[in-house]
Symmetry: C2
Subunit: 218 residues, 2 copies
């Protein structure tokens, strides 16, 4: 149906579109894709011909409905495979992204649905990111950055904002994982660092850490 490259562009535009209120810029896409602006322009023309994006020269792009649907499907595949890798093959959450980048391009509708069933229809991936349903709807979950939580309150870890391997490895090392209960013990005004309770341990974390961890409060 679509080439791997086309699918990767659609995914990139989809993710960038959430932040930019207007069209997504050529440069933004180039940066996201680690490619050059001229390559992006070429691809935008092609995607526009295929009615996947609304493209006006010099004005940036937005996804059409068809483009959104296609992007959601790829993200669905990516995240389902990530769940598989962690749940069934015993990978840790910092190792799965690269492999899922490949697996997301495997084409077979039956495969996705069977995989979904095998995994018992998960709603969120190993990083807490929502898995769109077959029709492209993303499940919502009210989550708050740990950095926004007041002293004395607590919540359950449901996701990470930064999904870099180094951050995930740091969390592992300190016993932080999805489902863990975290309570804010202290908040240092000076540098916005926090003292938190996680399980029976307590630890101090920087603002950098606290602003990349999502909690679900009761």
């Amino acid at each position: 149906m679509f080439s791997d490259s086309e699918e990767n562009y659609l995914k990139a535009i989809f993710h960038l579109q959430r932040f930019a209120s207007d069209g997504v810029s050529t440069n933004a896409i180039a940066e996201q894709m680690h490619t050059k602006a001229s390559s992006v322009t070429d691809m935008l023309k092609k995607l526009s011909d295929k009615k996947l994006v609304n493209y006006v020269k010099y004005q940036g792009v937005t996804l059409t409905n068809e483009g959104k649907k296609t992007a959601a499907k790829i993200i669905r595949k990516h995240r389902l495979w990530e769940v598989f890798l962690v749940e069934k093959l015993d990978f840790s959450w910092d190792e799965v992204h690269e492999i899922a980048e490949q697996l997301e391009h495997i084409e077979s509708d039956v495969l996705i649905e069977k995989l979904d069933k095998h995994l018992d229809f998960p709603k969120f991936d190993p990083h807490g990111d929502p898995i769109p349903s077959k029709d492209g709807t993303f499940p919502e979950r009210d989550k708050v950055l740990l950095s926004e939580i007041k002293v004395g309150e607590s919540g359950v870890c449901v996701g990470v904002k930064d999904t870099s391997s180094s951050f995930l490895k740091f969390l592992d090392k300190n016993g932080v994982a999805l489902g863990k209960k975290i309570k804010v013990l202290e908040h240092e005004e000076f540098d916005d660092s926090m003292r938190i309770q996680i399980g029976k341990e307590s630890m101090t974390i920087s603002h950098m850490i606290a602003s990349n961890l999502y909690l679900k409060t009761n």
Copy 2:
């Protein structure tokens, strides 16, 4: 490491090499790959540069040790994924080949080993074909074509020679599957058809069928 196309050529040469005693011909590869001889020549040069094949103009090719190792690895991946699809995702054996053709190109050594473990280190795929080990060794199994078995003797179905979807579907329809015990009741000289007992049923099968089913005799 290698492109999907390169991998597919290596696999094709590997399979053709089992029959041809000397080098594999350009035309044979072209037919197997559903491509043109000129495209094959181009690729052979490339594979030769990469020391994956021994190529002498007009003389056909053979795989180098490196080429054999690479081909075995791809076949290993293909067959492990087929086991996964049948055992874990509940596909039937006639549906898995096309998907495995895609999955075999996913690159991650850790993934293959974890998949192998998850499947409990299978030695044969859903069609009875041997799964090479990490070092490229193919497990052997003494098997005989059903058409070679004498009246009164019996064996257990361990593989198929023809793996076409139509043949596999026919077998399913008639209750033939790997592990089933089959006993030869009669043999018709005229057309080499056979009357066989499978489970509690008995049925007549053509020579075409009998010469594409492998049994393991006791």
